[in-house]
Symmetry: C2
Subunit: 478 residues, 2 copies
């Protein structure tokens, strides 16, 4: 439910930047596919050099990776991950790679599956807003597991991560929204391309092999939107990572596939989407990078709540507010907020994710809104309940979906106001490095000792200079 | 090429039996899906008992299995299988299960992948003519690998095989031809359902778990028709087997999925097909069995050549013909035969698969048309070349696609005639047990010692009475 809503929300705020994407897609679909989409993409990937990447792209890749590691730690003790490890480890190979935040070591393929699952299971991972792809899951999960088997320098790791994200998001741009609207969970259907390209680059595939890897990825899409709300949703990016690795390793040994897996009449795009804008895949390659458009969720709940949480935390910190000072919290919100998150008296942490009353209160009291702030314990906390009941949201049609207008009246008569114009984690207002680090440490809390978590953050920021990215995997084991 | 052609051929001969399938599909698509397709199917599978199966169904399941084992042996030394084992065995787990016809033992999942590939790589496996699904590949590959890890009696094995084939073919019936025409390789897209149901039955899944297994299978379709002619085609049924096993093992540990994976708006059928006849999935469950409609290819080449080969072998055996007796071979054939298999002077065995001249000659000389009869050596054999040049096919529009009219003139002046009304391996004219056994032994030749192959045939025929189906896997190791 939360995710479906998120989609509509995200699409409307993304449309301005995407320049009427839908119409472009439909026009493009009328034209025949260019004959060499797969080859053009493969050739570009094979020729790309780490030195080609702008510094800002490298930086965003580091932020993407750090956020992904934190999410994988945060989700590592969820039931879905426990079950998957228990069900599949009897078939796993040598302990080649780390399951982040846990003590188990599995073969590269199974480690990629588990890390892809844990990084997505709390719906707290990164988002490419234009397509709602969660780009890191499939790509970083495959790459990091691979790094413990096949050494990868930090610099090459970041380069491959950028390429994998580029390819999956470009393919996503080409078929969005038709492909998503049809019911595919796009992260799992484009993810195998991203994982195959990233790991194939590291394995040194030739252009021909890279084309085959794309073809092998094309036949292994994963994920239907019907599974949202079940454990199977988190399986999608994990299996996508695994499928991409399988594709790359097979192609590296000259397992043949089509040279036209993307564009052929019975190829991926035509079979999985009623429209495709081919230029989105092969136009301006290397002139811009999709990872620059990646965003990170600051709060462990649906996007409609984010502006309110954002503004409440800002006011709390600016005025050093405590709950007992507050008389009244008035919110002017977009109509969707009450539609989707209008529960007045949530009884559990999970219910709290559907309550703007609870979200405002917990943000004001704790200054954070990670997974831990949506616990059953806090949902029953008298101080939070008292404050929750002082929150009065009203609909204001002039308020955009990524905005909120907050007015807090204090018991001493002061009135504090905050207008959030662009919620944090939009492309216009990204999370700062510090905020990403705070999110990371909050997710690692209870999974890794604090000293280990701080050390791991340092390694992530320093990834570009590491001799081996595998250091990070090893440092993330419980 | 051969396979695409085969599709058109098969569809036209299957239409009579399928009662204007296309129109039924389109009408059905206008109606909303019944609310509980997944539950109905799961409940039926969970309640089904081996004793419910008619004897003839058990018998056909045995024939399906024997044919599949032979095909897996026959394909076991192909390059695609060599490469896949080489590329993926570094990640494989304990040597739990046999790769048929080889010495490697891999974990259950990888063994299923390899056996699924080898059984399909020569395009010589079984066919459900109405949908062109190759039913055994995904289901038997998953089941046999599982039997070496989780003991399965021969009787339970056959029962699970029947159920798996039933589910994959029913789902295929519901979406064929729209789904196939869209570009999906149907064996790989319905295969995960078959494998999940068969192995889930053996693992004792509850109704709820079986629904989840179907949901997990739904998110893992494999295969695009664009890959025909490449190694990736054989990957499809193998990966489908593996995906079904993953689904069953996860569901067995209560990994949750949707209860409506098949029929939901964003479920498998609506996302992967523009039409679906739901009644084909849940109507008359247990009143007929799709495995009864399974057919086996007698010849290792495209279907258009089969009537000619069939008739030539019959004449050869009936009159104990030798090549030097023959003056002239006249064929009246369907127009497609010359369109698709009109090469007059093939230089290689692979080319021979596109030559009705060569096919008639090799059938008359050897009495067989297995993979070995399409070798480079035989394509250059002077006796076969001499006879090949005496073959004169002419188009006759009164000849149906599964027919041929043959007239052989001997040097002594005799004229021998044969009209093939229904080619062997149609549902109307199935291969006999003896013919299946001959095909099996021909495929095993060069892979297993003759004594071992004969023993293995005996075990396959006797499967129903075996305490453990795993015996067969072990007896099929090189």
């Amino acid at each position: 439910m939360a995710v479906l809503d998120r989609r509509h929300f995200v699409r409307s705020i993304a449309v301005a930047g995407a320049a009427a994407n839908t119409q472009m897609d439909l026009r493009a679909a009328e034209a025949a596919a260019p004959p060499d989409v797969t080859r053009t993409l493969a050739a570009w990937v094979v020729r790309s050099r780490a030195a080609d990447l702008p510094v800002a792209v490298h930086k965003e890749a580091t932020r993407t990776f750090l956020n992904w590691v934190g999410c994988a730690l945060g989700g590592s003790r969820e039931a879905a991950v426990d079950i998957a490890i228990s069900a599949l480890s009897p078939f796993a190979g040598p302990g080649q790679a780390t399951v982040l935040g846990r003590k188990e070591r599995l073969d590269v393929m199974h480690a990629a599956l588990m890390n892809g699952m844990s990084s997505h299971v709390l719906d707290f991972d990164d988002t490419h807003l234009r397509t709602i792809i969660h780009p890191a899951g499939p790509v970083a999960s495959a790459l990091l597991a691979l790094s413990e088997y096949h050494p990868i320098s930090g610099r090459d790791f970041l380069h491959a991560l950028v390429l994998g994200v580029e390819v999956e998001c470009r393919i996503g741009n080409a078929v969005y929204p038709a492909h998503y609207d049809a019911g595919w969970h796009i992260t799992g259907t484009v993810g195998p391309f991203g994982a195959a390209v990233a790991t194939g680059k590291v394995l040194g595939l030739t252009e021909q092999q890279m084309m085959w890897a794309l073809g092998l990825a094309a036949v292994q899409p994963v994920g239907l939107r019907e599974m949202f709300g079940t454990m199977t949703k988190s399986f999608h990016p994990g299996r996508a990572a695994q499928n991409g690795l399988v594709a790359a390793f097979l192609a590296a040994k000259n397992f043949t596939s089509s040279d036209h897996g993307l564009e052929a009449k019975a190829g991926w795009a035509n079979v999985l989407s009623i429209s495709c804008n081919w230029d989105e895949i092969i136009g301006k390659l290397g002139r811009n990078y999709q990872i620059s458009l990646n965003t990170y969720k600051p709060y462990a709940c649906g996007v409609p709540l984010h502006p309110t949480i954002d503004g409440c935390i800002q006011l709390r910190n600016q005025y050093k507010l405590t709950a007992d000072q507050i008389e009244r919290v008035e919110l002017k919100v977009h109509p969707m907020v009450l539609d989707l998150t209008g529960k007045k008296a949530p009884q559990t942490g999970a219910d709290g994710k559907y309550s703007v009353y609870y979200a405002a209160a917990v943000a004001l009291v704790t200054g954070v809104a990670g997974e831990k702030q949506f616990s059953d314990k806090l949902a029953r906390d008298p101080a939070i309940i008292a404050l929750r009941d002082k929150v009065s949201p009203v609909i204001d049609k002039s308020i955009h979906e990524d905005q909120v207008r907050i007015a807090i009246t204090l018991k001493d008569g002061r009135r504090l106001e905050k207008f959030v114009e662009h919620v944090i984690s939009s492309v216009q207002n990204p999370m700062s490095d510090e905020q990403l680090e705070t999110k990371f440490l909050d997710q690692a809390d209870g999974v890794l000792p604090a000293v280990q978590a701080r050390n791991l953050v340092g390694l992530c920021w320093n990834l570009e200079k590491l001799d081996g990215a595998a250091q990070i995997a090893k440092a993330a084991a419980a």
